[in-house]
Amino acid sequence: MSAMATDPPSVRRTLTAIAMEPFTRRARAELLYLVVAAPTGIAVPVGAVAFLIIMGFLGPGPAKPENVSFAGLAAGALVLLVLAPRLARRLGSFHRRLTARLLGERVAEPPSFRPGRGVLGRLDARLRDGAGWRAVAYLLLRVPVALLGLYAVEYWGTGLVNLSYPFWWGLFRNHPPDVHLDPVPFLTPLRSHPFHIATYPGTLLVFAAGAASLLVAPWVTRAVVLADRWLIRNLLGPGRLMQRVRDLEQTRAQAVDDSAALLRRLERDLHDGAQARLAALAMNLGLAKEKLGDDGLDQLAQIRELVEAAHQGAKDALGELRDLARGIHPPILDTGLSDALATLAVGSAIPVEVTTEIPSRPTPAIETIAYFCAAELLANAVKHSHANTITIHVAEPNGCLLLVVTDDGVGGADPARGTGLSGLAHRVGTVDGRMDIASPPGGPTRVSIRLPPHA
């Protein structure tokens, strides 16, 4: 019963969404994309063929026009072969920009062309330009996609035209009763030959067909756009291997920077903390020693004060060094992530519930990353979330390590603001892990981090 009670609104919502789909910004952007991208899809092969024909007729050979010059044709083909990858790269970058602008799909650039040395070297490099040839493949495959795209545009066009029939029928068909007029044709994308109507009620049928066509249009458009996007991702991007290399380069650079920053921070902490404390401590002890040296008794109170200060300083320095050492590597982590997280939870200002299901231990590097991620997320939650409870859950689905930190706080965590979360994402990225953040305004916040079982 309860299911029936809740169903109607959701059905209504779905229906409204379907009815409104043609009016969404996304549908408009996709339509615009198909229209703007169509010319290159069709012009390129047409241009290539036209070029070959012209070369065939212009080239040296028998002067009769019906005789095609094979030398010219061959030269044309050669020129195309050399120029194709280069031109295709240009057009490819135009398409990448177009998709980024209109569809919000950002495809990374392929590696830039490396010219060879000398004429032959350059030619060789051009002919072996993998990214260029993939762009050529894209342009060839785009021909059918562009045609399909125009077909999708037809849904919009005929839809809009058909909607207009009932409105102008009266203007042009108000003839005397005995005059017989031809039936009026109308098109739908489903049939190449027009249907015909002869009466006003017929225009209502056309209107309905137009409305149906418009309702379907965004989905046809989207299907074509999705196919095109798939092609762009696979053919205009850097290629899977190059993408991988790029990712690795990026994460390696981040790892190197991170470790340098870490060392710098350690030095600073030591310099400002323990080293300064120990220097002050040594100074106090030195002073006390000298006082004992000259004549102790009447300065006893001062000496006591100095020794007390030195004593306190020694204890503070110890504490600071202990914190620092633990910050470098928490010893409890050696016994396992579960124990370490439990210890972490005990020290938290907001109650933390830790559940772990880790039958097999990941490598120490992964455990360390997971631990510091948990520590950072916990610190973030305590600082910003105003949560009542935080949960840390660690599991091992499909052999990877999954860390999920959830809080029932105010939400709105955004890696774009503040360096904490983006720093975590970098760190996780260095071992090919992934971080997902779900933190709508008003909460709750849920950050899940997936790490491979070994680095």
Partner: protein, 212 residues
Amino acid sequence: MRVVIAEDAAMMREGLIRLLADRGHRVCAAVADGEALLTAVAEHGPDVAVVDIRMPPTHTDEGLRAAIDIRRDHPATGVLVFSQYIEPRYAARLLEGGAAKMGYLLKDRVADVAEFTDALVRVAAGGTALDPEVVGLLLRAGRPGLDMLTLREREVLALMAEGRSNAGIAASLCISTGSVEKHVAGIFTKLDLPPSQGDNRRVLAVLHYLRS
């Protein structure tokens, strides 16, 4: 003696104030960064400023730059720069304008209170106080003439380069001032240095020799 202190670690700053007060010196101001130091020196015209090299905002060489500024703008004020580490490059920059009224010590040296205050007094009086580590670097960079010195003479040379007086050297090596004088004379002859009167001029000669 009137002293201005620039040190950003509060604990160290308090400790220095206490130490100097205990030794009967007057701390006119204790500040935490280079800019405040320059202001304080301009205001109080102290005999000597004790300056930490690393201070806010960049925690790099604020103190060093302030020290060089003080020497240029307030030649009457001595500057004792101290730092957690000895950087040869910093030492070179400090000594560029001469070694008079200049000191460069490791922070650790404050533990030996007498030596530290002694160095401070020396700098205030126009002398020099170089950390043994700085002198060690200079000696290691070594000129070939140093090979002619006996072990003892090298020790004496090092202490001279630190800026100590004959009495200081004698106390440090547990020998008589007479033998110190003898060693000094020997060093000057062997290295072919012009005989110079007074501790300060002597340091300059030695440093000049070591750095040239």
